[in-house]
């Protein structure tokens, strides 16, 4: 191969490899902007959660960030009025006693399980957890929120809560 062709090929290779390296860095970590490492702190998404007039809560919980080898641990689930007043809540020991039949995992591996001190949600798992409020609810908007064992209900600027409507 003549020299000029080799030069073009070498520069092309350099551009591709560097492009992939920088691209992965920016898209995975916003490395050239506001650096974010999603493996540091657990985060949860409650998208798809449903609440019914009879007090039944279908808590749809997915863990979207945090360490891949451990946790995370939910120690408090709250149903709130939009003004922040608690309607009902389940503490750690109540969550620890959720029957297995009330937890439905999307994936059979790494399931959401109860531990003696919390509800454990492995990274990437997405489960429906059925909980029951012992009274009926008035129609309207409610907020469902979960707390991680570190005491927080937000990470990376996103709250672990969702607004639901009871009709």
């Amino acid at each position: 191969m003549e020299m000029e062709k080799i030069t073009i090929l070498a520069l092309l290779g350099l551009i591709i490899a560097t492009g992939v390296t920088f691209g992965l860095y920016q898209i995975n970590f916003q490395g050239f902007g506001h650096l974010t490492n999603y493996s540091k702190t657990p985060a949860y998404s409650l998208a798809g959660t449903r609440l019914y007039e009879n007090g039944t809560l279908f808590l749809q919980i997915a863990r979207t960030a945090g360490p891949d080898t451990y946790g995370g641990f939910i120690v408090l689930v709250q149903v709130l009025y939009p003004n922040g007043t608690v309607v009902y809540q389940w503490n750690a020991s109540q969550l620890a006693h959720i029957p297995k039949s009330h937890i439905h995992n999307e994936f059979s591996l790494h399931p959401v399980t109860t531990t003696p001190f919390a509800l454990e949600v492995p990274l990437g798992q997405n489960a429906t957890v059925i909980l029951q409020i012992p009274f009926h609810l008035k129609p309207g908007y409610y907020i469902v929120r979960v707390y991680d064992v570190d005491g927080s209900y937000q990470a990376y600027g996103v709250k672990f809560q969702v607004e639901v409507y009871v009709s």
């Binding site: 290779g13 992939v20 995975n28 999603y38 994936f107 591996l109």
Partner: protein, 174 residues
Amino acid sequence: MGQVIVESTQKYLPILRVTLGFMFFSAFIRRAINVPAKLNPSSSAYVGGKLITFLPHAWAPIKGTLVYVLQNPSLLYEFIILFTALEAIFGLFMILGFLTRLSGFVIAILAWGIGAAAGWLGSTCVDEWQIAAVEGAAAFMFMFTGSRWLSIDQILAKKYPKGVKLGKLYIPLW
């Protein structure tokens, strides 16, 4: 045929080539020999579960594929076996310097593919990105350089310097 001259840069390539190959070949050793439970779907060590942890921030087309595979356990097992086999074969080829250009191509795809799936993980540092980026770039480089010293390819190249002939085309696999 006259004497084949090995460029001096070629003599330094095995320094990287063997380590790069072992990064992939050792994945096979870990799963097949060190901890066979990693390939046992009913074990808690099963590597299939690891794919779930990739999901939250995996790139769009790969995420959909992962979800589909994870929801079909038999497909998941076949996927794991295929992936492990590719790592074993092309990792070993890279170590031996056999079909180095082809191995570089396959390993670059594996490394960068993992980068798009798990590249966002890294509880110590930005680990998976570092692994994917360095292994991918290194493998990609071997696609262009091949390896003509301390390699099986040096023997092949002596006999067939242009590569495999396919019709009128020469495919440079080494």
